[in-house]
């Protein structure tokens, strides 16, 4: 019986093999091909590490992702905390509002930010009308715009993972802590925060990792200032037709992703 049931995994495995694993190996193959057609080479990887442009690009991509992750965390934690511990009925409505970005098309979401942030756009008009600024903030086509767009796209993951972790924290633990003499702040520091750590770490993983490879927000909201690894890979494939080099950058990105996942797993392991 058991062996029969195992066959049920075959269609899924087949799809994965044909559409995910095989292309990955084809890409890996490309990444070692010489542009001149002279067989295998490591040049595609060497170029990346020899040119300071690519290294500084890597660093600014990582920096971007760190900013987005940190800002998401700062926004998401209090929100998740209030939803999990303070609210009852209304929290489902808030949850839906948070999930809506998932349902909206990525391009629609990004172009809305374009309209919102452009010079003299809605954001500027609003700030002018309440006399906070005069003129324009000139946010569009800067790194700030990219970060705003990415935070909007990814912070729901952070809210949801932290919310789920906090929801699991039994209120009796918090009561026990205060009955033992801890103030609210101490209870948060020593009970709530440590117990929500798994949620924080998976939130960081779910925000940081996709941020590393993203290219839509940087391209549309960042313009020339939005160049990141993701946009360079895209350019290699669709503009320059440098498939071999593009593939090698993609694998370097993959390596970065795997390293950051391992670091986070290491931090999240049970002590």
């Amino acid at each position: 019986m058991k062996s029969k049931k195992q066959w049920l995994t075959a269609p899924g495995l087949l799809v994965l093999l044909v559409f995910a694993v095989a292309p990955l190996f084809i890409m890996l193959y490309y990444s070692f091909l010489s542009d001149s057609g002279a067989g295998f080479t490591l040049d595609n990887y060497k170029v990346f590490f020899q040119k300071s442009f690519y290294l500084s690009l890597t660093w600014s991509t990582i920096k971007n992702s760190i900013y987005v992750t940190l800002i998401s965390l700062i926004i998401a934690y209090p929100l998740a905390y209030i939803m999990a511990k303070k609210l009852k009925g209304i929290k489902n409505i808030i949850l839906i509002l948070i999930i809506i970005p998932f349902f909206t098309n990525q391009l629609v979401r990004v172009y809305s930010w374009l309209i919102f942030l452009q010079d003299g756009g809605i954001f500027d008009a609003f700030l002018n009308s309440v006399s906070i600024i005069e003129g324009s903030l000139s946010l569009l086509y800067t790194r700030k715009a990219v970060i705003i767009g990415l935070v909007h796209a990814f912070f729901p993951y952070m809210v949801i993972t932290i919310y789920l972790a906090l929801e699991k924290v039994d209120n009796a633990l918090l009561e026990a802590s205060s009955s033992l003499g801890a103030t609210k702040l101490e209870t948060f520091r020593r009970i709530t925060l440590p117990l929500s750590r798994p949620g924080i770490l998976s939130g960081i993983l779910l925000v940081f990792v996709p941020c590393l490879g993203t290219f839509v927000e940087p391209r549309i909201l960042g313009g020339v200032n939005g160049t990141v690894i993701g946009t360079v890979i895209e350019d290699q494939f669709f503009e320059i037709y440098g498939w071999n080099f593009g593939a090698s950058i993609a694998f370097i990105l993959l390596a970065m992703v795997l390293i950051s996942m391992n670091v986070l797993n290491y931090l999240g392991r049970e002590k």
Partner: protein, 360 residues
């Protein structure tokens, strides 16, 4: 150690009155059980004393100091939760030391107090374990140690044994009593388990729908329940309801809906008054012939016999009224079988007048 006094304590959730002005005094160094069905307000009482909830009316005094406005973390109260609420990310040692660290005691003092309390609850050697590596009974003892180590004025226990299986629960009852006697602490214990309340407590407080129905030592409450609720919630009881038709010093004739019944009892009620009487099943002696010398006894036919190891329970049909009698299986065989005619005899002092209002 401290005395606790509740005065006219009231708590409402919206329209729903959970506690309806209860007053209670808990003497120093005693273990008092709050006993009642779910929703009777016993847990709410505990949470008000702990400070997790705010009273809508009335006062709470600990050692004659009003504590209504004192925050939870300043009340110095030990609480053992139903779920134990052990901190899952901390070891046994850290769980127990938690309250002492909050009090900013020296490392030396913390070490010696944690060590002492772990010895008291017999958990030496388990310091480095995490809660989930412990059995239910061990977790319970960690929770108790954590609450006791801060030397609280009063210890509150919320259904703390109910999660354990029966055998372990009985063991822990004995253990708990030993630990509490050793520490001499005033403790308030919430339970819905009547057996637990009877065996553990110095005093039992029976609660029903937000009020206190009866307070007394376990044998007082059991042997002399005030009304139908107490008589049936704490143990089992048979009830006779009707109008008194005749009476003398040791027997009354009660006109019930099942006909006239002679009850051996001395009643302060007069002829013509309606009344409710109760008698515990184990107080009824079944006889094949009427052994009651003063007057005739109630008779009936055995309908069921239930064997329960140490006792046998007889359900007797007395003219339509089902009466339950229990007897020890001292001789190792049934006294009577189904269909036998039996006489129900008892000592007059065991048949009790209930305080309930009875309609004529």
């Amino acid at each position: 150690m401290a005395t606790v006094r509740l005065e006219n304590l009231t708590k409402k959730y919206g329209e729903n009155t959970v506690l309806d002005g209860i007053s209670l005094e808990i003497p120093e160094g005693t273990l008092v059980s709050l006993l009642g069905p779910s929703g009777c307000g016993k847990t709410t009482t505990l949470r008000l004393i702990a400070g997790f909830e705010q009273a809508d009316g009335g006062d709470i005094y600990i050692d004659n100091q009003r504590v209504n406005d004192i925050k939870v973390h300043q009340r110095n109260i030990g609480m053992v939760f139903q779920s134990y609420a052990l901190f899952p990310h901390m070891t046994v040692w850290d769980n127990v030391a938690y309250g002492l660290k909050q009090r900013k005691l020296s490392k030396k003092e913390i070490d010696s107090r944690v060590k002492d309390v772990l010895k008291l609850v017999q958990l030496e050697g388990y310091e480095a374990r995490k809660p989930k590596q412990l059995s239910g009974g061990q977790q319970q003892r960690v929770a108790l140690a954590r609450a006791l180590v801060i030397q609280p004025k009063i210890l509150l226990l919320d259904e703390s044994l109910s999660a354990l299986d029966k055998k372990l629960r009985v063991e822990m009852q004995v253990e708990l009593r030993r630990i509490l006697d050793a520490s001499g602490i005033t403790a308030l214990f919430v339970t819905h388990d009547q057996e637990e309340a009877l065996t553990l407590s110095d005093y039992i407080v029976v609660m029903d729908r937000g009020t206190i129905v009866q307070v007394g030592k376990p044998y007082e409450v059991y042997e002399a329940p005030k009304n139908r609720f107490v008589a049936s919630f704490l143990g089992k009881s048979n009830f006779f309801e009707g109008v008194i038709k005749e009476k003398n010093d040791i027997v009354i004739i009660l006109e019930t809906s099942f006909g006239e019944m002679p009850l051996a009892t001395s009643s302060p009620r007069e002829v013509g008054e309606a009344a409710l009487y109760s008698i515990r099943p184990e107080k009824i002696k079944l006889e094949a012939t009427d052994k009651n010398s003063a007057a005739e006894s109630i008779s009936g036919v055995v309908k069921f016999v239930t064997y329960a190891g140490n006792i046998s329970s007889y359900t007797i049909d007395c003219n339509g009224l089902q009466v339950i009698a229990e007897s020890q299986n001292a001789v190792g065989e049934f006294q009577f079988k189904e269909g036998d005619l039996v006489f129900l005899c008892w000592e007059p002092q065991f048949c009790l007048l209930m305080e309930d209002e009875v309609k004529k």
